[in-house]
């Protein structure tokens, strides 16, 4: 018989579907733990040029995180957040996308922006909030945004980007663009109401959006066992009618393959896809966190060394004869120099001028803000000695 929703088979067995399957959803991987290609794997081939570019970006991202984290510790920036352990997810997923795909990040995906061409200097400018910051000094560190890179400005409240991504995907579909929306979320973020709303809506509106969940095991100090009781995040896709896959997030080739194919399906078939990338958050949640307080140091060390996605991919690239110790040394020296130079330049650059306090609240500055700006300038003129000399008026 039919019910609203369609035909359904009847059964006389009184049985509850178990909350969890007997076996967990398997995890797609291409490389083994040491970076060796597994047998009979169906994966997207990458050329030498592409592989080296992916690897170099992973190293750059890793170095960026180390040095900028240190910069916060030295008091040069107020806050920083690393993507350590998730370099493969960041870079390989970005490499699988086209520049027209609109990216809506959570906040641990600066590697995607790096891949798309954001320079060290542009990153540093945002962190220092100087006058070259595209955010005009409005946002706290790591809240990057760049229209020209199709990277939507980072917004702190968790998971709000998920339904927004559906809105953008729907618009891309209406415009018949050969592009999709790609949005990232952590394991913790899947508990938010917006996760439910975003996935449900994406399915109902048949929008081409990739939901990439970085399941790194931790939401600040909350372990995934306290976050949900499902088999991770991949099984939630089925609840919304969304095709889903679980991949080894520390395997650059697996991530690259999954994202590339997901993208094609999403755009051609007008469907969302959920990708759960399994990984481990090697760094602390942010510079405001000390994760050794809630997890064992040897666990962190293990993931940092034995399961490191960067060294794993390096092994594969080298095994093809495409990389060497010399190339590594040269890359690291060059990146380090570039980074330190960028930080120094950004520090020396002056802050945004006063008018940026009042601009962009609305499209056209309203009368009250114009008045306030005039009053402030008056006050500065009268008390110039109280006004900081390194901030332009």
């Amino acid at each position: 018989m039919d019910f609203p929703g369609g035909k359904v088979r009847f059964t006389s067995e009184m049985e509850f579907i178990s909350g969890n399957s007997e076996t967990r959803v398997p995890c797609f991987r291409v490389l083994d733990q040491y970076g060796r290609l597994l047998n009979n794997v169906d994966f997207e081939q990458v050329s030498e040029e592409a592989a080296v570019k992916i690897y170099a970006n992973m190293v750059t991202l890793q170095m960026m995180d180390v040095i900028l984290y240190e910069a916060q510790r030295q008091g040069r920036i107020s806050f920083y957040l690393t993507s350590m352990g998730e370099e493969a997810i960041n870079i390989a997923s970005a490499a699988a996308l086209s520049d027209d795909d609109v990216v809506l990040p959570q906040y641990r995906e600066h590697g995607v922006l790096l891949w798309r061409g954001f320079t060290m200097q542009e990153f540093a400018n945002q962190l220092m909030g100087n006058r070259f910051d595209y955010g005009k000094g409005r946002q706290m560190p790591i809240h990057y945004g760049s229209n020209k890179h199709n990277y939507v400005t980072i917004s702190s409240p968790i998971a709000t980007q998920l339904p927004q991504a559906v809105g953008i995907a729907y618009s891309l579909k209406m415009d018949k663009k050969n592009a999709c929306a790609v949005t990232y979320i952590g394991d913790g973020g899947t508990s938010e109401g917006d996760f439910h709303a975003g996935l449900n809506f994406a399915a109902v509106t048949e929008s081409p959006v990739l939901f990439i969940c970085r399941n790194n095991g931790w939401a600040i100090s909350t372990h995934i066992s306290e976050q949900f009781r499902s088999d991770g995040v991949v099984v939630k896709g089925r609840a919304y009618g969304i095709p889903s896959i679980r991949v080894d997030g520390n395997d650059a080739l697996a991530v690259y393959t999954a994202v590339k194919r997901a993208r094609e399906i999403a755009i051609e078939k007008h469907t969302p896809i959920l990708i759960e990338a399994m990984t481990y958050r090697v760094g602390h949640h942010s510079t405001s966190d000390d994760s050794t307080k809630y997890r064992p140091i040897n666990e962190i060390e293990y993931w940092k060394t034995a399961r490191n996605p960067v060294s794993k991919f390096r092994n594969w690239v080298e095994s093809n004869g495409w990389w060497s110790d010399e190339a590594e040394a040269e890359l690291r020296t060059r990146v380090r120099k570039q980074l330190l130079q960028a930080i120094q330049n950004a520090e020396k650059t002056e802050k945004p001028p006063l008018r940026e306090l009042f601009a962009d609240v609305y499209d056209v500055p309203p009368a009250n803000l114009q008045d306030q700006e005039a009053e402030l300038r008056e006050a500065i003129k009268r008390h110039l000695e109280d006004y900081p000399s390194d901030v332009p008026v």
């Binding site: 939507v152 809105g167 109401g193 809506f201």
Partner: protein, 334 residues
């Protein structure tokens, strides 16, 4: 023209003029709108431009904001602004602040509309007025139409505006009919945002109001006129930006002010108007400012209690008289 017809025609014309404009909300399509405001639009524009959404205010508001980031011009309907609280993070943190936080890279040309304030006998969770809450946030524009002309002109202005606009309608006004000029019926008609309208000129006391309360203020003005008090009624139309110039000019003329609103008194619209007048026209006041607002309780259901919780015409008349020293001030009776 009824307010309902005014809103419907405004939506229709703006959707016709700009293919980027689309409507989304619960029941807006097949059902023709929970209050029939979107009647006929699904049939005319199709399901790509009139979207019936699943029940998730947070969800469809987030989607609307995302679509606006991309460059579309969504009109998001809340069945009542009471339910917008489930989406308020997206309205404030995603819509209102994005242009500023992104330094102009992301603009959000979105309109949030729906009935606001008290209806009749719907209780606490269906009767709150959200004008003060939304109007306190920089980055938003907040409009409150009263008449059909207001509804047409302000909704068109809201849809055309590049900033996020909160458009507060009133359920009880939907069915009310107002005379409408030929100019207002034209499809290019638009009212400026940030300009109040002087509905009735007067010289003895200024009464500010918005939405349904404008109607009550006009009735009060009739009664006051018979007792020799000439009240000037200002229909605010725009809560943010507030037309401080018009309000202050009026108070400088009448020297007395009564602020009127349906919402809760603390941190209300009247509180802001009172401060504005004190800041700019203190010397012109001949009497303390009188503030009429809803009772400081969640809206009760029983008809007699509800009546006592919302300003009535006699409350406005008494306040105007107190301001004109024709009655004993409230403080003296305490």
């Amino acid at each position: 023209m009824t307010v309902r017809e005014a809103l419907n025609s405004a939506l229709d014309e703006e959707m016709s003029a700009d293919p980027k404009v689309f409507l989304m909300g619960e029941e807006v399509g097949e059902y023709q709108g929970a209050y029939k405001i979107s009647k006929g639009l699904l049939e005319k524009y199709g399901p790509e431009r009139v979207l019936d959404t699943p029940i998730t205010e947070a969800g469809f508001t987030g989607i609307g904001v995302g679509a606006a980031y991309y460059g579309l011009r969504p009109v998001v309907e809340f069945m009542t602004f009471n339910f917008s609280m489930q989406a308020i993070d997206h309205i404030i943190n995603s819509a209102a602040k994005s242009n500023y936080m992104s330094a102009g890279q992301i603009s959000v040309p979105i309109v949030f509309r729906g009935p606001n304030g008290a209806a009749a006998g719907v209780g606490a969770q269906h009767s709150q007025c959200y004008a003060a809450w939304y109007a306190s946030c920089p980055g938003l524009k907040v409009l409150a139409p009263y008449s059909s002309e207001d509804a047409r002109g302000l909704l068109k202005a809201a849809i055309r505006d590049p900033d996020p606009v909160v458009f507060l309608e009133n359920e009880l006004l939907y069915g009310e009919s107002f005379p409408i000029s030929a100019e207002a019926v034209d499809s290019s008609f638009c009212l400026p945002i940030g300009k109040a309208k002087i509905e009735r000129e007067g010289k003895d006391v200024t009464i500010t109001a918005f939405s349904k309360m404008v109607g009550l203020a006009l009735k009060a003005a009739e009664i006051l006129a018979k007792e020799g008090i000439s009240a000037e009624i200002i229909n605010l139309r725009s809560i943010r930006p507030l037309d401080r110039a018009t309000i202050n000019a009026s108070v400088r003329k009448t020297n007395r002010l009564v602020t009127l609103e349906e919402g809760f008194p603390q941190h209300g619209v009247g509180a802001e108007i009172c401060t504005s007048v004190i800041e700019e026209s203190f010397g012109y006041l001949d009497a303390p400012v009188e503030r009429i607002a809803g009772a400081d309780v969640p809206m009760p259901y029983a008809a007699n209690l509800e009546r006592s919780a919302v300003p009535q015409v006699e409350d406005i008349v008494r306040a105007a008289k107190r301001a004109c020293y024709r009655a004993v001030p409230m403080a003296a009776t305490a």
